[in-house]
């Protein structure tokens, strides 16, 4: 495929994806490979750094480490792709800010020079969903669909930093009612359902989860209630931190807000490339969907077997 040669990305892993939800990493690798996109490793990349905590503590630290991460891809001459809204927020905001402020760029480069690096701004930080939707496009993705789900109701959760701040994002200023992720979900035949306050934050970001877990858990409780009311079979998202908050957060909401929750939540949380991969006919074990260990206290915290059971008959 001639087109595939231009799809070459440096895979920015971040922290939560590789270190807590490796099934997300596995599924991104499998789906990109299947779609003819080459993924290169960004050797020695660090935490992005996380925008809600480290940016809130010390902006110069946040900027210089973000710039360092970007220079790794610049040296390789490839755009960055990340599957995490937080990393995307950091890398993209830092990239835009450094590109628009000459003095700031000069100051950051003075620090980077001490370790033999220079931020040039020559590559673009992208999100996995941005690559799927803009670089490849819906039509291209449709060509890979092998199985269509006939009966699957999906609550799509975008998360915040994939669309906001909209002046630093590639979605033509849309921040209140984007459709791109729903469109990707719907090529698999699954139905993206409407639910109340669909674009509300999951509650994990902005240092809130580390500060007061009860507040974070209340954000997710409200989202989960709205998703359950709308009859969601599964939650689809595009961020490992939202993923964690909506997965582990169900356990937390079930215990902290027991009386409000009633029947405990148990909605499987699936990452977008896991769903896409299934529809493309990729082996579920390559998508991190098959549990192959007896470890205790690891992700996913809400079992996904009910989802696999439901779609098994539809994958023919």
């Amino acid at each position: 495929m001639s087109e595939s040669n231009k799809w070459k990305y440096g895979f920015f892993l971040g922290c939560v994806t590789p270190n807590r939800y490796p099934m997300i990493e596995a599924s991104i690798r499998a789906v990109f490979d299947h779609l003819g996109a080459e993924i290169l490793e960004l050797e020695g990349a660090s935490c992005c750094p996380a925008p809600g905590v480290f940016r809130a503590f010390h902006i110069p630290t946040w900027l210089v480490i973000a710039a360092r991460n970007i220079t790794i891809a610049e040296e390789m001459g490839v755009d960055i792709v990340t599957g995490c809204n937080g990393c995307y927020g950091t890398l993209r905001d830092a990239w835009v800010e450094l590109e628009h402020d000459y003095e700031l760029k000069k100051m950051i480069n003075e620090h980077l020079a001490k370790v033999g690096r220079e931020f040039k701004g020559s590559i673009e930080p992208k999100h996995v969903v941005q690559v799927l939707y803009q670089d490849m496009g819906i039509e291209y993705l449709q060509g890979f669909v092998k199985h269509k789900f006939k009966d699957l109701k999906v609550a799509v959760h975008y998360g915040c930093h994939i669309v906001k701040p909209s002046d630093k994002r590639p979605w033509d200023g849309e921040s209140e009612d984007p459709r791109f992720l729903d469109e990707i979900v719907e090529i698999t035949g699954a139905k993206s359902i409407d639910y109340k306050d669909k674009f509300q934050c999951c509650g994990a970001g902005g240092a809130v989860r580390t500060a007061v877990k009860e507040i974070s858990a209340d954000f997710s409780r409200e989202k989960l209630e709205n998703m359950r009311d709308a009859g969601a079979d599964i939650i689809i998202n595009c961020c490992p931190f939202c993923h964690l908050q909506l997965d582990l957060g169900q356990m937390e909401a079930n215990s902290i807000y027991k009386d409000m929750v009633g029947e405990p939540y148990k909605i499987p949380v699936i990452y977008i490339t896991q769903l896409l991969g299934l529809s493309f006919g990729i082996d579920p074990s390559l998508l991190g969907l098959i549990k192959n260990h007896d470890l205790k206290g690891v992700s996913p915290f809400i079992p996904i077997e009910s989802f696999l059971e439901k779609v098994k008959a539809q994958l023919t």
């Binding site: 270190n19 490796p22 750094p49 210089v64 906001k164 934050c201 240092a207 007061v212």
Partner: protein, 197 residues
């Protein structure tokens, strides 16, 4: 231009009863808040304000008037940085970015929660990751990676000790190490004072 008007335009923030905090707000760019008409769009849009006592417009007002007590208000740590207020502000104030700047000043003054300080000082500075998979306590996460056919550690700073050193060098260069050391001493002194009582 009359002298009074000129004086008004030049005035950076309202005069504060406190010492140098007002100037710090100005230096951080918080004078943008002067465009605020206190309409409350930020507050009405805030998912954190739905469930906590955090009121965005009140925090902004206090920052604008140089009220330094806002730095000790735990409410400023309840913002999940969802950027809804930023998108909806009719005066185009980058509200969320202002909250982040306010937090920077709070941290500089030593107002940082222990959990956040530990995350920065022990985890991020030492490993280069905010959520690491190395070390004794994280074996299950490395095993989990292997169960999905991935190497036990990712090709990040975890596989490159020299990259951790490089990050630390940069953090020293921008003054983060000094800041963390200063806060650590402050926290130790506070602890000792409490124990004395």
């Amino acid at each position: 231009m009359s002298e009074n008007v000129e004086k008004y335009i030049k005035r950076k923030v309202y005069k504060s009863t406190s010492s140098g905090i007002a100037q710090k707000f100005v230096d951080a760019g918080l004078e943008k808040l002067r465009a605020c008409i206190n309409c409350g769009t930020c507050t009405g849009s805030c998912p954190s304000g739905r469930r906590t006592a955090y009121r965005t417009r009140s925090v902004l007002r206090r920052a604008l008037t140089g009220d330094e007590s806002v730095l000790q208000d735990i409410g400023i740590w309840f913002c999940s940085t969802c950027y809804t207020c930023y998108e909806r502000c009719p005066r185009d104030i980058p509200v969320t970015d202002m909250i982040i700047k306010l937090r920077n000043i709070a941290v500089e003054e030593g107002f940082i929660l222990d959990a956040h300080f530990g995350l920065a000082n022990k985890i991020f500075y030492e490993t280069g990751h905010g959520v690491p998979a190395n070390g004794e306590g994280n074996k299950k996460w490395r095993d989990l990676r292997e169960s999905y056919g991935l190497p036990p550690l990712p090709p990040t700073v975890h596989m490159h000790p020299e990259a951790v050193k490089e990050c630390q060098e940069l953090m020293k260069s921008v003054g983060f190490r000094d800041l963390l050391d200063r806060i650590e001493k402050q926290k130790e002194a506070e602890k000792a004072k409490k124990e004395d009582k």
